[in-house]
């Protein structure tokens, strides 16, 4: 029983890798081979699908658009969440608990509910079809999440640190930026990771708030799938490329993931 224990995670990981393998295998096949019948691996290995994505602006600009709103959203969410999380972790103030739960309740709002009003709101203020609109809209669920995670990390820092700095005559912002922020660097990394993740994977709002100029890669994919019929190889190549930023980010935070989940109470 104990000897065979490694089998459980091993089998699970095999199960996880199968669809990813299949996506990769498809992306290296020619359209003829895909439609010709079942083949376990590419018989005629081709990079044509990837070449098309990297040379066609409608494709590669999709990645640029997606990454730009994800980065704006991550920076914005963490920047506004930092002082708020500090307030929640260090002070009591009128309505603090209500405010905290109201913030969290926004995490429970289905994006489908907000799709139409967001479309109208961002059209009205002239931000429709810009990365900023999507970045702001994603703040709806990422800011509460960032506050929640950072508050957890900040509460683990002893309050004596603050008190000593004030005794030494540090003004608040100087203390906050020079001493406190470096002390919770790991927490900021974890919060940024989750903001990046949820903004990168969300599609419904991103698609609703953009049409041409700021179209995210995910929307390019769904529109291609419906208009040009059966270009599975191209679709698979585009899909495979969307895994890259995530894998890259995971690699950097690999040692913090488990800690972030528990401490950050995501």
């Amino acid at each position: 029983m104990t000897r065979a224990r490694w089998l459980v995670p091993a089998l699970y990981i095999v199960f996880l890798m199968l669809p990813i393998y299949w996506l990769l295998a498809m992306s290296f096949k020619t359209t003829n081979e895909i439609l010709g019948g079942f083949t376990l691996w590419p018989q005629r290995f081709t990079l044509e699908n990837y070449r098309k994505i990297f040379t066609d602006p409608t494709w590669y600009l999709g990645y640029v658009n997606s990454l730009s709103y994800v980065v704006i959203n991550t920076l914005l969410s963490v920047a506004v969440a930092l002082p708020a999380a500090y307030a929640f972790s260090r002070y009591r103030f009128l309505g603090d608990k209500h405010l905290f739960f109201w913030l969290l309740s926004n995490r429970m709002a289905p994006p489908a509910v907000f799709a139409l009003p967001f479309f109208q709101l961002y059209s009205a203020i002239g931000l429709f079809d810009t990365p900023i609109a999507v970045a702001l809209a994603h703040c709806l669920f990422n800011v509460p999440l960032a506050v929640w995670i950072l508050e957890g990390f900040m509460s683990a820092v002893p309050r004596e640190l603050d008190e000593m700095a004030y005794v030494d005559g540090y003004p608040f912002w100087r203390f906050f930026l020079r001493i406190f922020v470096p002390a919770i660097a790991a927490g900021i990394g974890v919060a940024a990771f989750f903001c990046f993740m949820f903004s990168w994977v969300e599609l419904l709002l991103a698609k609703t708030l953009t049409s041409v100029d700021a179209k995210p890669i995910a929307a390019t994919m769904t529109r291609t799938a419906s208009t040009s019929g059966y270009e599975l190889g191209l679709l698979a190549a585009a899909g495979s490329l969307t895994i890259v930023p995530g894998a890259f980010v995971i690699y950097f935070v690999r040692n913090y993931i488990a800690k972030g989940f528990s401490l950050g109470r995501v």
């Binding site: 299949w22 489908a112 709101l121 930023p245 989940f261």
Partner: protein, 289 residues
Amino acid sequence: MSAKPVNQRAWWLVLPVLLLVAFNAVIPLMTVVNYSVQETFGDNQFFFEGVKWYDEVVNSGRFRDALKRQLLFTGIILAIEVPLGVAIALAMPRRGAWASVCLVLMSMPLLIPWNVVGAMWNILALPDIGLLGWTLNKVGFDYNYTRQPLAAWLTLIAMDVWHWTSLVALLAYAGLSAIPDAYYQAAKIDGASPWAVLRHVQLPKMKHVLTIAVLLRFMDSFMIYTEPVVLTGGGPGNATTLLSIDLVKIALGQFDLGPAAAMSLIYFLIILLLSWVFYQVMTRGEEQT
């Protein structure tokens, strides 16, 4: 631990978050409330209708069917993913290089855009040229998820298990890592069986993270939209039309603002209510133990 000092100036620190979230949450929510009590015939003319749309939504067979499908889906998801996630976390290596490898590989599905997850499973399950669909048909099952409601459901559930079990496993793993070795040594001296260790040491210590896992999986599976839309498009027929899919069809497809808005609010309230119930049930034991 001393109590936190009262400081009303802390509001200034919260202000940016408050403004940003209020802008994103309050204005759209008020828009929805506004539409939900009015009727329009175009030309931006609106007439007050009271609770007419709520009445219509609550009594419509379409909404009830979508809600039933949604509850069934979420129930199945929780029943599979939570025990499976815990089992995987228990069997994972605690430290060393293999632990890191497991963590990184298991996080992969969480970082793939949701429509790509749908597309990936779509390609995997194609009956004639997909790895899964082809294999199932080769070994004798008649499998075609675009035509059989049962096959569509099974594919959808397999996809969600693939996508989200890692989240439960990572949370449970984080909870397990926080248990000091001394607990295990004490259990060993007492001659406790692995089952007793699980029942009396590991599960109670994981309670906090498991509450979060159940709540997150509940909320997110209740709001699921992109993956089933890409995989099945809500079909065959309406077999996999869950609440969000139905809502988007009404709101953005048909532009029936009133019913869509009323449905939105009912939908949101159901999630809030059920989340609260889950939270109460799962944390009630804490004062007793």
